[in-house]
């Protein structure tokens, strides 16, 4: 029995090391992991071939990035001290904002975990501020999306997006917590930060490392299974978009200050599965979208329709409305700042 476990552990570690080392090599060697097909290349092909070529192009370059991203996401989800973080995030003190923006993106990659944690933060009395900060930043900055953004859109845009999302998350949480509706909602649950009865009801078992590694990789596989099908469908759509959408429209409407506002308006309500907004964003960039608008585009994700609906069911329409409007404002402002000060509108 022991031999089997040692062998399995060795294989798992080998698997992980493979992706880490290959990825490090790719980064050091500046080997690009983004797809290379341009609109002209694609237009020259027969219609049915376009998505195939595009997907193959992406697969050839992107398998490493995605493999790395899924593996690392699984590892973080398993090995980050979650209880410790949840306790700090629910403490109701200012530090909870900081913990939320720095650490929650690391372990919340599965959307079925985010909503329970968000509701949990609210009902446990953590305050509407930290809860909304978490709700904003966990999907916006989640590890998987960050890794893919860096590879597809480049470091500069990715880092700017992450910073804007972090600052935006704290601002939104804080502002909503000062509104009358935010305060009213908070009052209902104020009584319970750190109820001692709760701590007694949870005694997590310690598991041996090999079990945890296996759990981590299983989770990575689960995320991959959840994300890849929709991702492929998205790539098919994006391939046609990249081939046929007129560049003139993108250059006319997605550049300059108008571009920032339009990008934020479009990408907000538009529901895109994880990663698709990054790939679609890249297609738009190839067609001429400005950097400022790209930032606004990326930041539209938190106020899409499904998120808003599920949020509404928990906190009511007033808070959701303020949240969505503030998220839109963050997207536009960040796009304008980035465009004007750094990379161009």
């Amino acid at each position: 029995m022991e031999h089997k476990r040692v062998l399995k552990t060795g294989l798992m570690l080998g698997f992980i090391l493979f992706f880490v080392i290959m990825m490090a090599q790719a980064i050091i060697g500046s080997y690009t992991l983004t797809p290379k097909s341009t609109a002209e290349d694609l237009r020259a092909l027969p219609l049915w071939q376009i998505p195939l070529v595009y997907i193959w192009d992406y697969a050839q370059h992107g398998w490493l990035c995605l493999g790395f991203a899924f593996t690392v996401s699984g590892l973080f989800a398993e090995f980050i001290p979650q209880r410790f973080m949840l306790r700090y995030m629910s403490s109701g003190k200012p530090i909870s904002y900081l913990i939320a923006i720095l650490l929650s993106p690391l372990f919340c990659v599965c959307s079925c975990t985010m909503v329970p944690i968000y509701a949990g933060l609210l009902y446990a009395g953590a305050g509407i501020g930290p809860a909304l900060t978490f709700l904003y930043v966990a999907p916006a900055n989640n590890l998987l999306a960050d890794i893919v953004t860096i590879q597809v859109l480049g470091w500069q845009i990715a880092v700017a997006d992450m910073m804007a999302a972090g600052v935006g998350a704290v601002l939104i949480g804080y502002v909503v917590s000062k509104t009358p509706w935010g305060k009213a909602f908070e009052q209902r649950y104020r009584k319970n930060p750190g109820n001692p009865g709760q701590v007694a009801a949870v005694e997590l078992v310690k598991q041996p490392v090999d079990e945890r590694l296996w759990s981590a990789l299983k989770f990575g596989g689960h995320i991959a299974k959840q994300i890849l099908p929709a991702f492929l469908v998205g790539l098919v759509i994006v391939s046609y978009f990249q081939a046929f959408f007129p560049e003139e429209y993108v250059e006319a409407y997605l550049t300059g200050p108008l571009g920032v506002v339009l990008a934020a308006l479009l990408s907000g309500p538009l529901y895109t599965p994880t990663l698709i907004e990054v790939v679609l964003g890249k297609a738009l960039v190839n067609l001429g979208m400005s950097p400022g608008a790209t930032i606004a585009w990326l930041l539209g994700q938190p106020y899409d329709v499904p998120n808003s609906l599920s949020n509404y069911r928990i906190v009511g329409w007033k808070i959701v409305l303020v949240y969505d409007l503030l998220a839109f404002a963050v997207a536009v402002t960040s796009g304008l700042i980035y465009g004007l000060l750094i990379a161009g509108l």
């Binding site: 989800a77 398993e78 979650q82 949840l86 995030m89 629910s90 599965c110 079925c112 975990t113 909503v115 329970p116 944690i117 509701a119 949990g120 933060l121 009902y123 446990a124 649950y189 319970n192 109820n195 009865g197 709760q198 701590v199 007694a200 009801a201 949870v202 005694e203 997590l204 078992v205 598991q207 079990e211 296996w214 759990s215 299983k218 989770f219 689960h222 959840q226 928990i314």
Partner: protein, 89 residues
């Protein structure tokens, strides 16, 4: 007759992982039933004030045995679930 109370916590509507946990627990329950141990398996909504106020913030999926959360945020293999249930005897 020995009895164990198992609760699986997940969002409503249920997500893939929470369903997997429930299935694993039910598989072990069947095995233990053959040994004369009764395991009651219930599904609870993790997004409810009652659960949060009793157990604190939980990462879904979560599994509680006899009222104490033993594992959360992952899908335990059948072998792990069996270990957890037997430990509770």
């Amino acid at each position: 007759m020995k009895k164990i109370n198992a609760e699986v916590f997940g969002p409503d509507p249920p997500c893939v992982r929470c369903t997997a946990v429930k299935q694993n627990v039910e598989a072990v329950a069947k095995k233990l039933a053959a040994e004369g141990i009764e395991v009651e398996v219930k599904r609870r909504n993790i997004i409810s004030e009652e659960v949060i106020q009793r157990y604190g913030i939980l990462l879904s999926p979560a599994l509680a045995v006899n009222g104490i959360v033993k594992i959360m945020g992952k899908v335990p293999d059948v072998a792990v679930v069996e270990r957890l249930l037997r430990e509770a005897l």
